[in-house]
């Protein structure tokens, strides 16, 4: 490592001008990244981590943003803060390059990936011909593990993992001194995430590029970064070698951040530490049972379930679920895991009576409910007993309704309580999920993501359903909020004796929360069993592969 850092940030302060006045996003952050080094920037949403990344490329809109402090590049110490646009243009993509989170959004849908990568090269090598640039792009694609022939494909023809590889190829084609990777693998399935992280590390160490890895995921940091900087509310809390930081964090926030995400070593069912409550005691006794009460019988089940999605025009229908049989017993939590496209959400929709099965039996409490998707009467009756909690707490609450309207709507439909009683029940529910009656008259936009998810849970609980189907209920949340919501669900499950179908792509969360696990792959059931059996002695290679990919 050379004496001067590749990237030297001092007292960086970024302020956004908003209608309500200036809002500081980053406050006096300083750090260095040496050539060949990987520095992790960890923090939750709003911590300013992405803002630092954008500032390092001078990509902020100068009309709305004030950047102060110093960002210097390389041996010459080229200053980026307040540099003229013409100078920044020469630096962006050649000396500092960026890999963005969502490759589908980050790549232009209108141009082939080859053309987009070639453009990145030609901008900084204007004398290169189009053909030579395209050849270089194809070679770079080969380097990231994509066949050169795919260069003439548009992004929508590639898988998520390939798209992210193409974005990496685009960032690295000019051999930048500094690579900024903003949540480069967050949108990917665990196995693909693993591969892509390995690729980034390999290329980065090969070329001696300094890398700033921005992530919310402590697991990614542990697997990738030499050093780590923890950010909260725009301030640097703690910095150090990753290993030391993860094993003996000094700041309580770091400790909470690390502890909040369950790992494959966390004792299942225990309360997770949160930022406000770093050493939690359970409201009720921890659930350490491994075998559910089998004798209480089956609550919901599908048998030999097939669901086809109709094909485009004459194309053959696409099978999403291919003959799956599984059940949820009374009082148990069944975890449904699998990668995207494995059919987990489709099964949930069938059990909720929202999607008609192509064939197979669907039963709730012994009753055939396969026709619920086409019968309004049956679906309405079913919704008295089966309620849903959704992934995205921003999209799943009507922004024009008050919390009272949101929580009392199921009561209005399913009970004959009068308005005053409904209001009283809504207040109770809010208390139960850790909010208060004073929130009743507010609208969803006044709440944080975690609070909204609590409102969604209160709505699902309103009619005292017998089964709750939770489809990725914590995957859109920050880890410390995820811990709070998981703690809440664990408490409610004991207090209300709930049965749950819990869908997640996060194996550590599933292990922590569920009694029994069903593993799906491409619409088929790969493995089903008790939590400890599946995690400690997986019987199929696919499950083993999934487990190996957990960071």
């Amino acid at each position: 490592m050379s004496a001067r850092p590749a990237l030297r940030v001092r007292d960086l302060t970024v302020t956004f001008g908003t209608a309500r006045g200036p809002v500081p996003a980053v406050r006096g952050v300083s750090f260095d990244v040496a050539p060949g080094e990987v520095l992790g920037l960890v923090g939750e949403s709003g911590s300013g981590k992405s803002t630092i990344g954008l500032a390092s490329l001078g990509l902020h809109d100068p009309a709305r943003t004030r950047v102060e402090g110093s960002i210097q590049l390389g041996d010459a110490g080229t200053e980026l803060v307040d540099a003229p646009e013409s100078a920044l243009k020469r630096i962006r993509g050649s000396r500092v390059a960026m890999v963005f989170q969502d490759a589908l959004d980050a790549l232009s849908p209108y141009h082939t990936i080859g053309a987009q990568i070639a453009e990145a090269y030609r901008i900084h090598h204007p004398k290169t011909g189009r053909k030579e640039a395209l050849e270089r792009a194809a070679a770079m694609l080969e380097r990231v593990g994509i066949a050169a022939a795919r260069a003439s494909d548009h992004p929508h023809h590639l898988s998520g993992g390939m798209r992210q590889r193409a974005v990496i190829a685009m960032a690295l084609i000019n051999h930048p001194d500094v690579l900024i990777a903003d949540e480069p693998t967050t949108a990917l399935d665990a196995r693909v995430q693993h591969q892509v992280l390995d690729l980034i590390r390999e290329l980065q160490s090969e070329t001696g590029t300094a890398m700033l890895l921005i992530t919310h995921d402590v697991g990614v940091v542990a697997a990738t970064c030499h050093r780590t900087l923890v950010l909260r509310d725009g301030e640097a809390l703690e910095e150090g070698p990753t290993k030391r930081l993860l094993t003996s964090p000094t700041h309580p926030y770091t400790r909470a951040l690390i502890g909040a995400a369950p790992t494959l070593n966390t004792p299942p069912g225990t309360r997770l530490p949160t930022v406000d409550d770093p050493k939690p005691k359970p409201r009720t006794k921890a659930r350490l049972r491994t075998a559910p009460d089998r004798d209480r019988g089956v609550l919901a089940e599908v048998r030999d379930l097939r669901v086809d999605y109709p094909g485009r025009r004459r194309a053959r229908p696409h099978p999403a679920v291919k003959g799956v049989s599984l059940h949820v017993a009374r009082g148990e939590t069944l975890g449904l895991v699998g990668e995207s496209g494995s059919g987990k959400s489709t099964i949930a929709r069938v059990l909720a009576g929202l999607r008609r099965p192509t064939s197979g039996e669907v039963r709730f409490d012994g009753r055939d409910i396969s026709g619920a998707a086409t019968s309004t009467r049956l679906r309405r009756e079913l919704s008295r007993y089966v309620q849903l909690v959704f992934q995205d707490p921003y999209a799943s609450l009507n922004p024009r309704h008050t919390v009272e309207q949101i929580v009392t709507t199921p009561l209005r439909i399913h009970t004959d309580l009068d308005a005053a009683r409904r209001r009283k029940r809504a207040a109770e529910l809010l208390e139960q999920v850790g909010l208060s009656a004073s929130h009743l008259s507010r609208h969803p936009h006044e709440f944080s993501g975690g609070q909204r998810q609590r409102i969604g849970i209160a709505r699902a609980l309103a009619v005292q359903p017998r089964l709750i189907i939770a489809d990725e209920p914590v995957s859109a949340l920050d880890v410390s909020v995820q811990a709070q919501v998981l703690n809440l669900l664990m408490d409610l499950r004991e207090e209300l004796d709930l049965s749950l179908l819990f869908i997640s792509h996060d194996l550590a969360v599933v292990r922590h929360f569920c009694d029994r696990i069903a593993v799906l792959k491409a619409g088929e059931l790969v493995e089903v069993g008790l939590r400890d059996t599946v995690f400690d002695a997986p019987s199929t290679p696919y499950t083993k592969e999934l487990l190996a990919a957990v960071l």
Partner: protein, 330 residues
């Protein structure tokens, strides 16, 4: 692709058939008698019957309609009021007894005027509408943006006949800055052609530009938030080039669709503009035909307008598909 084209053509034919049948039926139901108009006020009832027979009006409406549609495909011979046969080769749109010429010939006489007006107005729409929308989006929130949106609002709220007459008075008759509006064929004197139509172009384009300016601006602003625009800038592409290459491409879809409709509508005739500036185009032909109960001309011009709209909407769809590879023909 072939399947798509066949489907599209079949759709177009169905639309045109439905429109011509409706126009036909409406005029058949109207109280005035085309034979009486063709024959004149001093007609005896025997003459009237003869005229009716020669015009084919004694036939049932369905066979009149099939004759008409057949004529478009194969051509036919039409009898004049006095029974003299007039050959009408395909595509025969009927014979106007008021104008004493085949409808197609009447349209062909006036179509160059309409096409000339449409082409120029479209150019003005593109420059004033799309251009100012782009400029406003790139300078959003600043003086340029506010100025342009005010200017466009003015255009949207003023009427062609008002603006047309006022500008003629000010620019042509009072100051002589502009040549008096007139139509000179492009093929004979291109410069005179442009000078004579400049004022109609500006007025028609200006009045229609606001919609495009607004749509362009809002589409651009929406597309700017996409990650690929940021990616392009992170590659080192300049702001302007990024927006022209990436943002504009993402914003173009709805604009192209709307422009397709606009071109079709403009080619169908711009009656108000033609009237204000005293230009005899297809729009004026159509309105005169309606006023004069000239059924064949009405149906012919309606059909022509529908044809242009159908064709240019299809062209717009093809352009959108070419711009966005994710669009599939279905």
């Amino acid at each position: 692709m072939t399947r798509y084209l066949i489907k599209r053509v079949a759709q177009a034919v169905a639309v045109l058939l439905a429109i011509s049948a409706t126009a036909f039926g409406l005029f058949y139901a109207a109280p005035s008698d085309p034979a009486l108009i063709a024959c004149g006020p001093k007609c005896t009832s025997a003459q009237l019957a003869a005229v009716r027979t020669s015009m084919g009006l004694d036939q049932p409406i369905v066979s009149q309609f099939t004759d008409y549609v057949g004529g478009i495909v194969t051509g036919r011979t039409i009898a004049d009021v006095d029974g003299t046969p007039i050959p009408c080769p395909a595509p025969c749109l009927g014979y106007s007894y008021s104008l004493h010429q085949p409808v197609l010939a009447a349209i062909e006489d006036r179509l160059p005027v309409t096409v000339s007006i449409a082409v120029g107005a479209l150019a003005v729409i593109l420059v004033l509408g799309v251009g100012s929308g782009l400029a406003a989006a790139l300078r959003r929130g600043r003086a340029t943006d506010r100025l342009l949106s005010g200017f466009n609002l003015l255009g949207a709220s003023v009427q062609i006949y008002f603006l047309g007459y006022v500008l003629q008075l000010l620019l042509v008759y009072s100051t002589g800055l502009f040549a008096p509006p007139r139509y000179v064929p492009f093929t004979t004197q291109p410069a005179q052609w442009a000078l004579g139509l400049l004022l109609p172009w500006l007025v028609l384009g200006f009045v229609n530009a606001a919609v495009y300016a607004r749509l362009t601006r809002s589409q651009m602003l929406e597309t700017m938030h996409h990650g690929y625009v940021r990616t392009a800038r992170a590659k080192g592409l300049g702001t302007l080039r990024t927006h022209l290459k990436y943002t504009a491409r993402g914003a173009a879809g709805p604009l192209v669709q709307l422009l397709g409709l606009e071109v079709g509508a403009l080619l169908g005739g711009a009656f108000i503009t033609e009237t204000v500036f005293g230009l005899g185009g297809v729009g004026k032909l159509a309105v005169d035909a309606v006023n004069g109960n000239d059924l064949p001309t009405v149906v012919g011009t309606v059909l022509l307008a529908a044809f242009f709209v159908v064709v240019f909407v299809a062209v717009a769809d093809l352009v959108v598909a070419w711009l966005d590879p994710r669009v599939r023909f279905a």
